[in-house]
C-alpha cells in the first residue's frame, strides 16, 4: 500500500514564523530568517470561560489547526485529527508539580483536567464540534514523524481526510534545564486521500534507516531545538514548491523519507 496523501492546507507558528503565507519566503530561503519570540493568539474559537482555562500550548495548537483548516477551506467538524507533542503543557505540569511538592497538596481541578496529553485535542473538538476519531501521540523528539506517519496511514487505509497538528512549547525553570526547548513552535497539515482543487503537493512516505536531513543555520537551530520543528525540512520543500525529498528525524535507527511533489 502506498503511504501517500495530498496537502490541502498548512498552518505554522513559531519564533519569527507567523502563519504560512508570511513564513513561506523565509522557509524557502528567499528572505532571511529573523527569529523573534513566538506570539500566541487568543483562541477566539473557544467560549470566554474555556478561553480563560487555556495556556500557551493549547493556544498554539488551536491557532495552527485553525489556520490549516481555513487554508484547506474545509469544515473542521468533519475532519479526523492526529495531535502530536513531546511535551504537552509544560507550564501546567510545572505548576502541578510545585503544588504536589507541598505537604498537603490542593490542586486546581482545571489544572488537573488540562494536564492530560490530549487536552489540546479535547479543546479543539469542543471548539469545532468535531466528533470524528482523534488521537494524540508522543514519540519524544520523533513526535512530528510519529504524527505524520499515523496521519498518512489513516489517509491510506481509511481514505479519509485528516488534520495533523504538531506542537511543542517551552518548560519554565527548573524543568527547562532538563528539557531546554527555547520557545513555542507548531505546524498543522490537512491531508486528503485524493487530489483536490486546492491541493498544494503530494506526499509519499516510507520508513528508512538513512540519516535525517539537517538544515543550514539559522533554521537548523530551530529544527533541532523543538520537537515539532523536526518538520521544518518538509515545510521548507513545501515552501520552495519544487519536487524534492526530505528525510525526517524519527527514532534512533529509523527515519521517515518523504517525497514531495508539487501539484501546481
Amino acid at each position: 500500500m502506498k503511504i501517500e496523501a495530498y496537502v490541502a492546507g498548512i498552518g505554522v507558528l513559531g519564533p519569527g514564523l507567523d502563519g504560512w503565507p508570511g513564513s513561506r519566503g523565509v522557509l524557502a530561503g528567499d528572505r532571511p530568517y529573523a527569529p523573534v519570540p513566538t506570539v500566541l493568539p487568543v483562541p477566539t474559537l473557544l467560549s470566554a470561560t474555556e478561553r480563560r482555562r487555556t495556556g500557551r500550548v493549547i493556544r498554539l495548537a488551536l491557532a495552527i489547526a485553525a489556520e490549516a483548516v481555513a487554508h484547506a477551506g474545509l469544515d473542521a467538524s468533519k475532519l479526523r485529527s492526529v495531535f502530536t507533542s513531546s511535551t504537552g503543557d509544560g507550564q501546567n505540569c510545572h505548576e502541578l508539580c510545585e503544588t504536589l511538592a507541598e505537604p498537603a497538596p490542593e490542586i486546581s481541578p482545571t489544572r488537573f483536567a488540562n494536564s492530560v496529553h490530549n487536552a489540546a485535542a479535547g479543546y479543539w473538538s469542543i471548539a469545532t464540534s468535531a466528533m470524528q476519531p482523534s488521537t494524540v501521540l508522543c514519540a519524544f523528539d520523533g513526535s512530528f514523524c510519529a504524527g505524520l506517519l499515523e496521519a498518512l496511514v489513516q489517509v491510506a487505509v481509511d481514505e479519509e481526510r485528516i488534520l495533523l497538528v504538531s506542537y511543542d512549547a517551552d518548560y519554565p525553570p527548573p524543568m527547562f534545564a532538563k528539557r531546554p526547548v527555547p520557545d513555542a513552535f507548531g505546524t498543522a497539515l490537512v491531508l486528503t486521500p485524493q487530489r483536490e482543487p486546492g491541493s498544494l503537493a503530494r506526499l509519499e512516505a516510507r520508513l528508512c534507516n538513512e540519516p535525517f536531513d539537517r538544515l543550514t543555520q539559522p533554521l537548523e537551530a530551530l529544527r533541532s531545538s523543538n520537537p515539532a520543528a523536526r518538520s521544518v525540512p518538509l515545510l521548507r520543500h513545501l515552501a520552495i514548491g519544487a519536487g524534492a525529498r526530505a528525510v525526517l528525524e524519527y527514532l534512533e535507527g529509523s527515519s521517515l523519507a518523504v517525497d514531495i511533489e508539487p501539484c501546481a
Binding site: 511538592a101 488537573f112 535507527g253
Partner: protein, 397 residues
C-alpha cells in the same frame, strides 16, 4: 477491518501478576482494592496498587529509565512468557517489521513529583540524577520497552487519557493493514502517582470505599495501575479455535466537555457503532460488554444510556473496575486482556463490589460471574477530553 490474532497477551494489576492470577481473581470474584497507603498520600480513598513494584529497581544497565512506571512495565513484560513471545515474533517477522504502540496517561511523572520535593534550596534546580527523557516524558515507557526488547520498528505512545491503551489497537491495526509492519506489540502501562490521586480528588471523583460501578450508591472511582500487553499478528496456520481475534475498533469524540461525559453518551454511542461497523457485525452478535464503568454517577449513567441505545437492555454487561480499580491509561489494555480471558474461559465477569444495581440505569448489569459460551465481546474505554474507543474481540473458532 481484517481480523488480527492476539497471539500472546498478559496483564499485571492489583488482581494478579500474569493471566493465571488475574483469571483466578476473576473466578473468585475478588477485588484488589485496598485503603490508599501509597507514598505520602493519605486521602480517604481506595486504590488498586500492584504490590512490590518498587521492591527492586531496574538493573544498572537501565538506570536512566528507572521509575515506578517502567518497573511496572518490566514486571508486566516478564509474565506469561510475553517478552519471549515478542522475541520470537521479532525473529520471525524481522525486528524492523514489529511495531510498538503503548498507551499511558502519566508515564513516570511520579519521578518528577519526587524531584520537585528535592529541589536545590538556593537555585531551585532539580536533582542531577533526574532523567527527563527516561522517566518523565510521555514516550519514556515506549522508549524503555523498545530498547529493552531490541525492537527496530515504528514506536509511539498514544496518550488520550483513559482511552489510551484501547486506541493503540487501532493504530497498530492500521499500520499492519498498510503493510508497514507485520506484527505489533500493543498495550498500556500506567502507575500510581500524586497527580492522578490528588487530581481526581480535586474533582471530587474518588470514591471513599472501593468503587461500586453501576451501584445506586456509587460515589466515584478507585484509581488503579496496570501493565497489559498483547502481540497482534495476522492469523496464520498456527491460529487455533481458542485464540482470540481483534475484530473491530471504533473511535470518536464527545466534543462536549473536558472532564465530564456527554449526558446521553453521544460519543460513546458513536464509538460502539463504529466498532460494530468495522467488524461488520450487528449489535446482536455481541455476547457480553466489558464496560468502561468507572463508578462515578455521571459516567455510568452516560455509558448505560449509550449501551442501551445501541444494544437494547438485554446484552449482559459489567465493569471489572470494582476488582482492578481504574488503571487510567492502562485500563483499555487491561480490559482487552480480561475480555480475551472471558472469551477463552466462557466466563462473563460479574461486577465486584456492586450491591444494589441502580435501577434507573437500563443496561443489563451483572453482579456475579456467569458461565456462558462467548463468541464476541465488546470493551469500552472513554477518557478526559471526550475521547472514546470501543474494541470488539472474538474467538477464532
Amino acid at each position: 477491518m481484517t481480523p488480527l490474532v492476539l497471539s500472546k497477551f498478559t496483564a499485571t494489576s492489583c488482581i494478579g501478576r500474569g493471566t493465571e492470577e488475574t483469571l483466578a481473581s476473576i473466578v473468585g470474584e475478588r477485588t484488589g482494592l485496598a485503603p490508599c497507603r501509597f507514598e505520602t498520600v493519605r486521602l480517604d480513598t481506595h486504590v488498586g496498587e500492584v504490590t512490590d513494584v518498587d521492591a527492586r529497581g531496574l538493573s544498572q544497565e537501565w538506570h536512566r529509565y528507572d521509575c515506578r512506571n517502567n518497573r511496572l512495565a518490566e514486571i508486566g513484560l516478564m509474565q506469561d512468557g510475553f517478552a519471549e513471545a515478542v522475541e520470537e515474533a521479532a525473529r520471525r517477522h524481522g525486528r524492523a517489521r514489529l511495531g510498538l504502540f503503548l498507551g499511558t496517561s502519566t508515564a513516570g511523572i511520579l519521578q518528577t513529583e519526587l524531584a520537585y520535593r528535592a529541589r536545590d534550596p538556593v537555585t531551585g534546580a532539580l536533582p542531577e540524577g533526574f532523567d527527563y527523557a527516561g522517566t518523565h516524558n510521555t514516550f519514556s515507557v515506549a522508549d524503555y520497552v523498545r530498547r529493552r526488547l531490541r525492537l527496530e520498528g515504528p514506536a509511539v505512545v498514544v496518550s488520550c487519557a483513559c482511552a489510551s491503551s484501547a486506541k493503540v489497537f487501532g493504530a497498530a491495526q492500521r499500520m499492519i493493514e498498510a503493510r508497514l509492519i507485520d506484527a505489533a506489540l500493543v498495550g498500556g502501562v500506567d502507575s500510581l502517582c500524586l497527580t492522578t490521586l490528588y487530581g481526581f480528588h480535586s474533582l471530587q471523583l474518588c470514591a471513599a470505599g472501593p468503587c461500586r460501578p453501576f451501584d445506586v450508591a456509587r460515589d466515584g472511582i478507585s484509581i488503579g495501575e496496570a501493565a497489559a500487553f498483547a502481540l497482534l499478528e495476522r492469523p496464520s496456520n498456527s491460529t487455533t479455535s481458542d485464540d482470540v481475534l481483534l475484530l473491530g475498533v471504533g473511535e470518536s469524540n464527545d466534543a462536549y466537555h473536558m472532564s465530564a461525559p456527554h449526558p446521553e453518551g453521544r460519543g460513546a454511542r458513536l464509538a460502539m457503532e463504529a466498532a460494530l461497523l468495522d467488524a461488520g457485525l450487528e449489535p446482536g452478535a455481541i455476547d457480553y460488554i466489558n464496560l468502561h464503568g468507572t463508578g462515578t454517577p455521571s459516567n455510568d449513567r452516560s455509558e448505560s444510556h449509550a449501551v442501551t441505545s445501541v444494544f437494547g437492555a438485554s446484552t449482559p454487561c459489567s465493569s471489572t473496575k470494582g476488582a482492578t480499580g481504574h488503571a487510567l491509561g492502562a485500563a483499555g489494555g487491561l480490559e482487552a486482556v480480561i475480555s480475551a480471558l472471558a472469551l477463552q474461559n466462557s466466563l462473563m465477569p460479574g461486577g465486584v463490589n456492586t450491591e444494589h444495581v441502580d435501577e434507573t440505569l437500563t443496561a443489563h448489569y451483572i453482579r456475579h460471574n456467569r458461565s456462558a459460551a462467548l463468541t464476541r465481546v465488546l470493551t469500552n474505554s472513554f477518557g478526559f477530553g471526550g475521547t472514546n474507543c470501543s474494541l470488539i474481540l472474538g474467538r477464532a473458532g
